[in-house]
């Protein structure tokens, strides 16, 4: 019984860390998706870029300077990529979802190839910054202190996002754009700026999450697809453009990925599918759709 409890505590904490990391990735995807109706399939590639940046700067012997430099470079790369994606999808605004998805899919393929050409096909491990590479005792279990930091950091980002979106004029603008883009444009606000801003923010969050997540996931080819799928499932379960929905869904998926895998290793994929199927059968537009906007 004690063993089960120990496994349970570790798995739940891991799930919390993965879930909050997923939240940071998926909230950008969800905003781009909810506000701009653009399905950005290059989002996973952004995360992987961040992870490789972490390896290139920090690698297996990081210092705080190199770690912070990795974060800064990844954020800059994310801002640049987000601006580029915003410009690239602009001419397709009135075209079908498929065309936008195809464009970002092409970008994702190119990015994955370039990353594999630059960094090779090996798994590139990244260590946490000094001071956070040890373990701490949690209910008698040794637990990596970096993951606890990750949980704290994720909670701070989630709270900050919530406050910005729900309590500030900027957040009001974002919510208004999710609800009715054309009305916002009619009110005299430059839609292109809002669009670029959302794209840049979402991409910066994705690349930063890549740096933060690199000690957990390691940088490797194929990670972009894994993260993209998890983030997409989070967005679908949470509902379009809803920060609260993304948080709840990310925590749920984090637990399924961690606790589910620890308890029933082979069936975890089915749990993911099952959660998706059940949510869509009950709430076809996601758990929190309608909270702000309900447009497809």
């Amino acid at each position: 019984v004690v063993d089960w409890l120990d496994i349970g505590v570790i798995a739940v904490l891991n799930g919390l860390a993965i879930g909050l990391l997923l939240f940071v990735v998926a909230v950008g995807l969800s905003l781009v998706f909810g506000m701009m109706d653009v399905l950005n399939l290059a989002h996973g590639a952004l995360f992987l870029t961040g992870a490789y940046v972490a390896w290139a700067f920090a690698g297996d012997r990081p210092t705080w300077t190199s770690w912070l430099a990795a974060l800064a470079v990844a954020a800059a790369a994310g801002a640049f990529a987000g601006g580029g994606l915003s410009l690239a999808t602009e001419p397709l605004a009135r075209r079908s979802h498929l065309d936008q998805a195809l464009l970002t899919l092409g970008v994702a393929l190119v990015a994955a190839e370039l990353l594999s050409a630059a960094f090779g096909d090996d798994v590139r491990g990244v260590n946490p910054p000094p001071g956070l590479d040890g373990t701490v005792g949690v209910m008698g279990n040794a637990y990596p202190s970096y993951r606890l930091t990750l949980i704290g950091l994720g909670a701070v980002v989630a709270l900050a996002m919530h406050l910005v979106i729900e309590r500030t004029p900027l957040g009001a603008l974002v919510r208004a754009t999710v609800a009715d883009r054309d009305m916002v444009a009619a009110a005299g606000i430059d839609a292109r700026l809002v669009r670029a801003g959302v794209f840049v923010t979402g991409s910066v969050l994705a690349t930063t999450a890549g740096v933060l997540g690199s000690p957990v996931f390691n940088a490797r080819p194929g990670l972009d697809g894994t993260i993209l799928i998890l983030a997409l499932v989070v967005v679908v379960i949470g509902g379009l453009g809803s920060v609260r929905g993304v948080l709840v869904a990310a925590l749920l998926i984090g637990q399924i990925e961690s606790t589910g895998r620890a308890l029933l290793s082979d069936l975890a994929s089915f749990l993911l599918f099952g959660a998706l199927a059940i949510v869509l059968a009950v709430r076809p537009r996601g758990l929190f759709a309608g909270a702000i906007g309900g447009r497809t």
Binding site: H97, V107, D266, F273
Partner: protein, 349 residues
């Protein structure tokens, strides 16, 4: 359906006698004499190809036919029903694994592995479609992607049956009338025959009243619902039919490669199939076949010369096609023809 037809009829050009209305002929089911001649010529050239090509080129052509059937089955969803699936390779892979398993553990005698592959593709598509078809737009894209990813994870983790990440290897050669298909040319003709059979199935579905209903759903779902159709059932049926033909194509892949890996049902394969459909032009069945030939050519023939960076070229092609060729290669023909016939409102939405 009749509404859609009547609308087309109203726009149809008056090519008949003055004062008389021309008989209704749907644009998608027309037996043009030039079209029939072109199809017959294409089949003749394809059938004669092994006599002129080196064995390696014949093998490449075999692979092109397999991926062409996959792309054509995807076109039934993307182009005709308006359901853009990002995970169609899953049903292709399910067919491939099933055919491989049947050949290895039951019988490699000719129709059995292929029929099992088509059936397995249909069953998997029925399960996946049951969830995916409920949704529309971006949600459909995401769901098909997620379901395919889960099927791939299953292929990777169900080691005893699928061989895990090493794949299923040592699949015995298909037996046709008691003889093993090991000769490159014989295998090619076998694949060609099955390819043509699959294409005829897709074409019949597309040209039937059922196909017209699917086009109606693609163009105006609320109106079809108002007319008393249940779009969900039709879309699910289309999804299952496309899954069955994709499963058939997967069975052919298992017969040719005699090796099935999780990559065969992965996201990259789905993306290539979709690229083939988009390059070739949606909603035409033949366009995606040309697109698939082009994609396989770039990946297998030019890829090695580029240091294994075929996907890089394909990614760039993706980006270029989206901007430059919104209706694909078949769209070029359509624009030329549009002086005579009303353009199809085709394309996935």
């Amino acid at each position: 359906m009749s509404m859609v037809m009547r609308r087309r009829e109203r726009h149809a050009p008056a090519t008949g006698a003055p004062g008389g209305r021309p008989p209704y002929r749907p644009t998608h089911a027309r037996f043009d004499r030039p079209a029939v001649a072109a199809a017959a010529a294409a089949v003749a050239v394809l059938a004669a190809a092994p006599f002129f090509l080196a064995p390696y080129a014949t093998t490449t052509l075999t692979r092109m036919l397999i991926y062409a059937l996959l792309a054509a089955s995807l076109d039934l969803l993307v182009g005709i029903t308006g359901l853009p699936s990002l995970g169609h390779a899953a049903y292709f892979g399910v067919g491939a694994y099933t055919a491989g398993w049947i050949a290895a553990h039951a019988t490699p005698a000719a129709p059995a592995p292929l029929l099992a592959a088509a059936a397995a593709g249909a069953v998997a598509a029925a399960v996946g479609g049951w969830v995916a078809v409920r949704s529309a737009g971006v949600f459909f894209l995401i769901l098909t992607l997620a379901i395919a990813e889960i099927i791939q994870q299953l292929a990777e983790s169900w080691g005893p049956v699928t061989g895990g990440s090493n794949g299923m290897y040592g699949i015995p050669a298909t037996l046709l009338a008691g003889e093993a298909l090991t000769n490159v040319a014989n295998l090619y003709w076998y694949v060609l025959a099955c390819f043509l059979a699959g294409l005829v199935v897709l074409w019949s579905v597309s040209a039937s009243p059922f196909g017209a209903t699917l086009r109606g759903i693609r163009d105006n779902e609320p109106r079809m619902r108002a007319l008393g159709y249940r779009p969900y059932r039709y879309k699910l049926a289309a999804f299952v039919a496309a899954g069955a033909v994709a499963g058939l194509a997967g069975g052919l892949l298992a017969a040719q490669q005699r090796l099935v890996t999780p990559a065969d049902l992965g996201f990259t394969t789905s993306a290539l199939a979709l690229l083939a459909v988009v390059i070739g032009g949606t909603g035409t069945i033949w366009g995606p076949c040309l697109g698939a030939a082009l994609v396989v050519l770039v990946r297998d023939s030019l890829g090695p010369g580029l240091g294994g960076h075929g996907p890089l070229v394909l990614g760039l092609v993706f980006i270029a096609v989206v901007y430059a060729l919104p209706r694909g290669v078949a769209g070029l023909r359509r624009t030329r023809r549009s002086r005579h016939a009303p353009p199809d409102t085709g394309g996935a939405r």
